[in-house]
């Protein structure tokens, strides 16, 4: 029973709230001999595994540390170039640490505004008349529930595919939003939600749902 995160998107498509609840950390450390048996490439200011997944290190994982030193861009903290280091046989055996890339706040905002047109196109391409946008989107690792209110605000919950009752949870979060964000005199509409009460109540709700199921709320 895992809820991975909650996102709230405003009427105009901007991310106004996001909360990472239980995001699993995917970390792998391994010592390699020469020559390196995985292929690394440099893209988007990160060193990414592009081929040769093994021992839990998958394609798309990011190199985070070499021999315990953090990697920043394509360099180590002390300014050494990582690719030069990996090409030099003298540096082996070498210990590399990989992890799945974490979304930055910027990427989350980007994804939230990306969901907005998907939602609209889904209703336009509908074979049936008068259709809503995406309500549930499922992939093999998660299921995304989206609830759009009459006023156009979208509440999205990302959870495990087997977690039941998430559509009710989105409506409960809407209630919390109405109670603690909208009734807050210092909150202006369409702006990011920074209300302490809203956040604490939301975390409370998510934890109780995870522990004892949706029937308890």
């Amino acid at each position: 029973m895992v809820i991975y995160g909650v996102y709230i998107v405003s009427k105009s498509g901007g991310l106004i709230f996001n909360h990472d609840h239980n995001v699993p950390k995917v970390d792998n450390e391994k010592t390699f001999g020469y020559p390196l048996n995985i292929k690394l490439v440099y893209e988007n200011k990160k060193i990414v595994v592009s081929f040769g997944q093994r021992d839990g290190i998958n394609v798309g994982h990011i190199l985070t540390a070499v021999n315990g030193n953090l990697v920043i861009g394509k360099e180590l903290e002390d300014g050494k170039d990582v690719f030069e280091m990996l090409d030099d046989e003298k540096n082996y055996p070498i210990n590399l640490k990989f992890s799945r890339s974490k979304m930055t706040t910027n990427e989350k905002i980007f994804l939230a505004s990306m969901f907005y047109p998907l939602f609209a196109i889904a209703s336009q391409l509908s074979p049936e008349p008068r259709c809503s946008g995406i309500e549930i989107l499922e992939a093999d690792t998660f299921r995304l529930y989206c609830y759009q209110t009459l006023t156009g605000v979208k509440f999205m919950v990302v959870a495990e595919p087997t977690q039941p009752g998430m559509d009710i949870l989105t409506k409960r979060i809407y209630e919390l939003y109405a109670d603690f964000a909208l009734k807050n005199p210092f909150y202006s509409l369409e702006m990011p939600i920074r209300c302490e009460l809203f956040e604490t109540n939301l975390i409370c709700l998510l934890e109780s749902v995870e522990k004892s199921g949706i029937s308890s709320v």
Partner: protein, 145 residues
Amino acid sequence: MTIHNLYIFSRTGVLLHYAEWNRQNKSGITNEEESKLMYGMLFSIKSFVNKISPLDPKEGFLYYKTSKYTLHYLETPTGLKFVLNTDNQSQNVRELLQQLYSQVYLEYVVKNPICPMNEPIQSELFKLKVDELMKKSPIFLNRSL
């Protein structure tokens, strides 16, 4: 239960085949434009799913559901994309798509030497067999009108 329509896209986004059985709503744009819109949406969903997924995805996007219909998606490792719209009650649509790939597409397109790859499929036999498979499936038969 009912099947609305089917799109088959190649690796590069060419619409190989389109068929519809039960479609009330026309999108108001030409078929070609619609297929481009559909492919663009699927492409975006794929990258969206990849980024938002908390763990490493294997198959990635499976389906999405709206209030009126469900869009099922199957992508082969060669990049061929099968998209089937059904109503929300349909079960085991994924297996149907697998069947469509292995029993119809492979048999009547890949094994047909005069069927060029990466171009809209002209073969009448293929179209017939797709129609047959869909009409045979319990999802199609149990439709309530």
